[in-house]
Symmetry: C3
Amino acid sequence: MKLVIAIVHDDDVQPLLEDLTSKEFRVTKLATTGGFLRAGNTTLLIGVDDERLDQVIEIVKNNCESREQITTSPAPVTGTAGVFVPYPIEVKVGGATIFVVDIEKYIKL
Amino acid sequence: MKLVIAIVHDDDVQPLLEDLTSKEFRVTKLATTGGFLRAGNTTLLIGVDDERLDQVIEIVKNNCESREQITTSPAPVTGTAGVFVPYPIEVKVGGATIFVVDIEKYIKL
Amino acid sequence: MKLVIAIVHDDDVQPLLEDLTSKEFRVTKLATTGGFLRAGNTTLLIGVDDERLDQVIEIVKNNCESREQITTSPAPVTGTAGVFVPYPIEVKVGGATIFVVDIEKYIKL
Ligand code: NI
Ligand code: NI
Ligand code: NI
């Protein structure tokens, strides 16, 4: 049995949790505040049988992998002369860190 | 030395903490928000010598084991004709998940 | 690769995080509420290569080691006759608990 500690972006938590629980994985969500550059992360604890470890990792990948997203440039804060034309910008979203730790004993009461 | 990660129901945390600390175990309580079906859980970290591992597990069992409880049926939300007679219903409370992980190094500063 | 779980006092978190991130360590900060006697603690997760484990421990030591601090006695709450002379008192601050756990797999998405 393994313990998967997954640190994922807050934005990705909801779909990831739905995906995991729909496949009968049991997840505990810890409140996380993130370090300096990691604000907005959530830590999940997932206990998993050895045979299903790859499946968990695959699910986290599908939902959290670092990717680029096209967003619209924000409107200027203070009034600018002329017409503001929003332009598309690329931002990096997602990304996750996964630690897999061996469990010596697992008890469900 | 082992690290015990215990995910217990919020209701059981207070008596469990009292029991553990009265027996000189050192506990750290993490804020937990729970996954879908696990709202209201708390995660505890307990560092323990190998010889006392069984004792910790026993204490968690005593305080958190899944059990049935008789409660009174809630009053109907909107007015019903006639008299409302509350009736006893059985609900499942408690339950816990325990992960035991081996610690390579333990340092107390 | 190792996972370092460090439980440190809230007061020491900010300088510790600055120190760790300035040396390129990646830290996740969990919200902690502490047990009975441990209110005001924060739990940090730090993934680290075996070769840098001693360095992490050294940094935690430098920032969190239990130490004595001179503080001024608090003013009496209700009015006392005469003049209140604050006097220096010694209090213990800091202290930390470090668990080092082996990581079977580490994935950065
Ligand atoms: Ni990120
Ligand atoms: Ni439960
Ligand atoms: Ni302390």
